[in-house]
């Protein structure tokens, strides 16, 4: 679809692109910090940024809750986290809003922006999100919840248990599966026996849809409809969002070991950020010069955020034994 089919204004589309580009460039910075030994880990959402921004833009970030997973950098930035916030997480700084330096990098959370942190055991956020949504339903708050996970997680029991409960209670929420083709090195064909994971929604009595996460407008419209349904009391939606994983699983992996050069090359030729830039040009939303200027501006922003984050204090070692139990 064309970008303009999203019904967003030109300014909104430009803003969306800036977030996509910032997430890409910030992740590239995180890899640099990892490779020079300043952070010990990175796990990327490169190849999912367009889908994530389109998804997140369909929500009201001042009241809706997000329970993300570790590749959701672009989405959490739309929800309100800054480049500096994310950099502080990767560098294990005391003011890292996700965990104050306690969890590994990319385990996003932010009390100030309604982003609930998760664990690395994967899919646990799905049942937790049903509790968040049930509270919203009981409180009559008109807020809704979004929770995300990778397609590998669809094999977990928590995936089934949460969707089942969402169906029973008609919860005001949206579940997304970001399918990037691989659970570390295990391809889709060895993960599940269906071509379209969203068909599973039928088995739970909720709405289901598969979207191409490289297509901004298609993704945005699908999430808008799902969010509207949740907000209007029509219940939950399961969306399978097809994306790419342009990088290895994490900074400790090398996908060239288990993916063919052709596979990787083809994916890079269809890089979602590049495709969006082509659309911005062809639909005359932005010119080449404007794209270049945005890039330059973001470079400066990320450099500054990196400097600021690096200067922030580490958590003091006496913080180790704090926040274990309720303090008197």
């Amino acid at each position: 679809m064309k970008l303009k089919d999203s019904q967003l204004t030109k300014d909104e589309l430009i803003q969306a692109y800036r977030m996509v580009k910032e997430a890409r460039m910030l992740d590239e910075r995180l890899w640099q910090l990892n490779r020079i030994g300043k952070s010990t880990f990175n796990i990327s959402g490169q190849g999912a940024e367009v889908g994530q921004v389109a998804m997140a833009l369909a929500f009201e970030h001042d009241k809706d809750y997000f329970l993300p997973y570790y590749r959701d950098m672009a989405a959490v930035m739309v929800w309100g986290m800054s480049a500096k916030d994310i950099l502080m997480g990767s560098l294990g700084k005391a003011d890292d809003p996700s965990s104050h330096g306690r969890q590994m990098p990319n385990h996003y959370g932010d009390r100030a922006h309604n982003i609930v942190p998760f664990s690395s055991t994967v899919t646990t956020q799905y049942p937790v999100a049903t509790g968040v949504a049930l509270a919203m339903q009981i409180d009559g708050s008109k807020a809704i919840a979004l929770t995300a996970t990778g397609e590998g997680s669809t094999a977990e029991g928590d995936f089934h248990e949460a969707l089942n409960f969402a169906g029973v209670q008609k919860l005001p929420m949206v579940f997304v599966i970001e399918n990037n083709g691989y659970a570390i090195s295990t391809p889709n064909a060895e993960e599940f026996g269906v071509k379209d994971l969203s068909v599973r929604a039928t088995g739970y009595g909720i709405f289901g849809k598969q979207v191409n996460g490289r297509d901004f407008a298609e993704t945005y419209l699908a999430f808008k409809e799902a969010a509207d349904n949740a907000r209007n009391g029509n219940g939950s939606t399961l969306i399978e969002m097809l994306v790419d994983r342009l990088t290895a699983h994490s900074s400790d992996d090398d996908q060239r070991v288990y993916r063919t050069p052709d596979d990787i090359a083809e994916m890079k030729e269809n890089d979602c950020v590049m495709l969006m830039e082509k659309q911005l040009l062809s639909e005359k939303v932005l010119s080449e010069a404007e794209l270049a200027s945005i890039k330059k501006e973001l470079e400066a922003k990320i450099n500054q955020a990196t400097e600021e984050a690096e200067e922030m204090p580490n958590p003091a070692s006496d913080q180790l034994m704090t926040h274990i139990y309720e303090e008197e």
Binding site: P97, S98, S99, H100, R102, Q103, H107, G109, R111, V116, P117, F118, S119, T121, T124, Y126, P127, V128, A129, T130, G131, V132, A133, L134, A135, M136, I138, D139, G157, D158, H160, E161, A162, N164, F165, V168, Q319, T322, H323, I324, Y325, E326
Partner: protein, 327 residues
């Protein structure tokens, strides 16, 4: 004061707290509606508080735990019931990875103020999967509180404290005590601390530390032996973290200690207590630490003689106290 059973005391605690705080809600398998739980602990709650605050959950323990965590994140105080302590196993990931770590992993930005109630313990011909003591799986996990009431008074007061706590509390209820013990308890509001062991009987010759049905055996043995020996009886109450101060003081006082659990010994809560005593007050002891526990059988069998053979009994407890006193 009115006479209540252990089960009635639990029901009262929930009822009073739900009246007191609109954010308290309770759910689990068969908890709602007219049934009110397979043991009847939640009977009458759905009628009084409606099916939004008291409801049946689908049969999925991980969802039950995760749901509670999510409600807690939003400021509700959820009471989740696991129908049997044996059925808690599918929820271990949610309990250990989410509930227990929510506060710590966000340095206090988010909390998980939930109570997870579950009936444990054998001697009811419940076979493998309705008899086990599963507390050892969780005991030793900082961030989590594990408590169990062993008296009618504590059943009400401890559950009220658990519901008011901002910490995740795993609340073990001994199913054999539900209807087998009754006592006069205050009609009005009172609480019992979550982190304190309780000295139920003062004594000078032997200290017995126990919980659940085993504590009842200890009290009875102390009574039987009262003309010969003076026995100090300690209700452990908090299975994690252990109230070291009370435990060590009670052990120092007599120099002889009997620890009792109906769980199998290796890795049990009482092995933890034993390690603390050995590490801290070894030279105050006048006899080796004695532990009475279940045998290394994978679970508690159904057949009457096999179940009896598994369980520590009254005679074992009385005999062990006498042996220690005479050591």
């Amino acid at each position: 004061m009115s006479e209540k059973s252990y089960l009635e005391a639990l029901n009262l605690a929930i009822t009073e707290e739900m009246r007191h705080d609109e954010g308290v809600m309770i759910f689990g398998e068969d908890v709602g509606g007219v049934k009110g739980g397979v043991f009847g602990v939640t009977k009458g709650l759905a009628e009084e508080f409606g099916d939004k605050r008291v409801f049946n959950s689908p049969l999925g323990e991980s969802e039950i735990a995760g749901l509670a965590v999510g409600l807690g994140v939003m400021g509700h105080h959820a009471i989740a019931e696991f129908q049997f302590a044996d059925y808690i196993l599918p929820a271990v990931n949610q309990i250990m990875s989410e509930a227990t770590k929510m506060r710590y992993k966000s340095a206090g930005d988010w909390i998980s103020p939930i109570v997870m109630r579950t009936p444990y313990g054998g001697g009811v011909r419940g076979g493998f999967y309705h008899s086990q003591s599963t507390e050892k799986i969780f005991a030793g996990q900082p961030g989590l509180r594990i408590v169990t009431p062993s008296t009618v008074y504590d059943a009400k007061g401890l559950l009220k404290s658990a519901i008011r706590s901002e910490d995740p509390v795993l609340f073990y209820e001994h199913k054999k005590l539900y209807r087998s013990i009754k006592d006069d308890i205050p009609d009005d509001d009172y609480t019992v601390p979550l982190d304190k062991a309780n000295i139920l009987k003062q004594g000078d010759d032997v200290t017995v530390i126990a919980y659940g049905v085993m504590l009842q055996f200890a009290l009875k043995a102390a009574e039987e032996l009262k003309d010969e020996f003076s026995v100090e009886v300690v209700d452990l109450r908090s299975l994690y973290p252990i109230d070291k101060e009370t435990v060590l003081e009670a052990v120092r006082k007599t120099g002889k200690v009997l620890l009792i659990t109906e769980d199998t010994k290796e890795g049990s809560v009482m092995n933890n207590v034993s390690a603390i005593i050995a590490e801290e007050v070894l030279f105050d002891l006048d006899a080796p630490i004695k532990i009475l526990a279940g045998p290394d059988s994978p679970s508690m069998p159904y057949a009457k003689d096999l179940e009896d053979a598994f369980l520590v009994n009254q005679a074992d407890v009385t005999k062990s106290i006498r042996e220690l006193a005479e050591f």
